[in-house]
């Protein structure tokens, strides 16, 4: 094994942010590991989900799914990654329309301005308007009318202009 070859492998690891590399070639075996705390190479958005195996798997799933850094499905992740998110600024009950019989504030493919109200979150009987904050097109609505949302929970995916 030449040193040059190892050097090249190391460069490649760095460039591609690999944390571990193993090469076996006949009698030769090379193992390289990088970074003190990384156990796996970073790909897309890594969700440090709860590793717990405790009382309520349902909660764990919910937590894992609801976290602002999480994704619904790995397959969708790559696509969703392109879009910005509108997240809940407070904890409360979300309404997608100003009143039960009214039209929703926004729908998929709605064009929104930064100041456009996209939903309301009720907390302690106060209706808090949530504004888009971004100019663009709503691509996906992640929550249902009347559902409870927690702080930081993604509500809409938006394609910025």
């Amino acid at each position: 094994m030449e040193l040059d070859k190892i050097k090249e492998l190391v460069e490649m690891m760095k460039a591609n942010d690999l944390s571990e590399l193993e090469v076996v070639n006949g009698q030769t075996r090379i193992v390289l590991k990088r970074g003190p705390n990384q156990t796996a190479p970073q790909v897309i958005a890594m969700t440090p989900a709860l590793t717990a195996n405790g009382a309520n798997p349902a909660l764990r799933e919910r937590l894992a799914a609801a976290g602002p850094e999480s994704k619904d499905l790995p397959a969708e992740a790559a696509e969703d990654e392109k879009w910005a998110r509108i997240v809940a600024p407070i904890v409360g009950t979300l309404y997608t329309a100003p009143s039960p019989n009214a039209e929703p504030f926004v729908e998929t493919d709605s064009k929104v301005e930064e100041e456009t109200v996209v939903c309301i979150i009720e907390a302690m009987k106060v209706m808090n308007e949530v504004k888009s904050g971004v100019r663009g097109t709503i691509k996906k609505i992640l929550v249902e009318n009347g559902s409870a949302v927690e702080y930081g929970q993604p509500l809409f995916l938006i394609e910025p202009d």
Binding site: N37, L50, N56, V91, T93, Y151, G152
Partner: protein
Amino acid sequence: MFSRILIANRGEIALRIIRACRELGVQCVVVYSEADRHAHYLSLADEAICIGPADPAESYLNIPRIISAAEISNVEAIHPGYGFLAENAHFVEICRDCKINFIGPAPESMHLLGDKVQARKLAEKSKVAVVPGSDKAVANEDEAAQLAEKIGYPVIIKAAAGGGGRGMRIAHNEMSLRVAFHSAETEASSAFKNADLYLEKYLEQSRHVEVQVLADHTGNTLHLWERDCSLQRRHQKLVEETPSPGLSTEVRQELCKAAVRLAKAAGYINAGTFEFLLDKNNKFYFSEANTRIQVEHPITEMVTGIDLVQWQLRIAAGENLKLRQKDIRQQGSAIECRINAEDPANDFAPCSGCIDRFIPPGGFGVRLDSHVYPGYRISPHYDSLIGKLVVHKKTRAEAIACMKRALQEFEVGPVKTTIGLCREILTHRQFVKGKVDTGFIERTW
């Protein structure tokens, strides 16, 4: 009993309340800030709700967010734990307005006991001695100096709304009093939004002895004996024990009865603690009341066998104490060491970061209350308590031996902790003799 409650706290006390709920069959919802998102105890609750970013003002101290979380999670009651909103009477009033039970005393008792000046008046009415001092907030520096001259130095300045040692200053002469007055005022004002200060004689070489009380809605008010918390560093308790090695049977009885009188006078309901100072001559003076569960409650649980947090829930749900005073026995001896992520070599600076190594002690006589596990990240936003190590044995000597071996087993790294200091304390001749006072740690280390 409630079917579902919200836990408005974090860390070890959130886990403590989750445990009580599980054993009672009560569902529990725990709130958390973004900094605690990955904490393992969240998975032990029935639900966990993110209420805001790491900053306590935006999460654990934020009343609207907590009430909103309680509303969406459909709970019947809120347990505040200790710290954060636990002694905030305004929060208790809002809970009442929102028709959510607050697991703790009524706001009226909290107001009364939370204000140190009012609490002193109550004590005097209840024939419980108080330390000589001001009967109301001291108006200014000059008034403070005058009063200090009257009662004699050293004196201690305390924030009327304070707790946990914040806003406290000791002065040995007029000059240091004037300096201390200003800094205490600033600290109290920023920490409690109340700059009121009061002043009392500072009792040197005194012990800190407090009495645990439980009271139900019928007025049945019981004490669960005392805890000795003399081992403090900058008014922060570090090692607590029960029974207090500094009390005779007579003084113990008197002290506990005094606490019950105070609780009754305040119309107190639920678990509470009445703190006293015991001077060199075994005379005790009421110091302050804590209208919540306390960090050091486990030692009382160990010697009485009574689960205090379960009783907090029961009383709040309207259940009455089935116990009588004579059923509550103080069996054996219990000690608690607070394990903080602090560096004793660096003036006890809090350490944050990841806990890679965490091997807790176990075996006969050992109880550990800790939310920590290997891989836990200590957030710099909250207090540095990572665990409470408690032992319970038949005698004080056996409890000390057990605590020493448990501390020896306890491995935490790479963050620095108070484990080593606790070992030194447990080995110290003065501690072993039971002859310590509130100044012991600062004089010795």
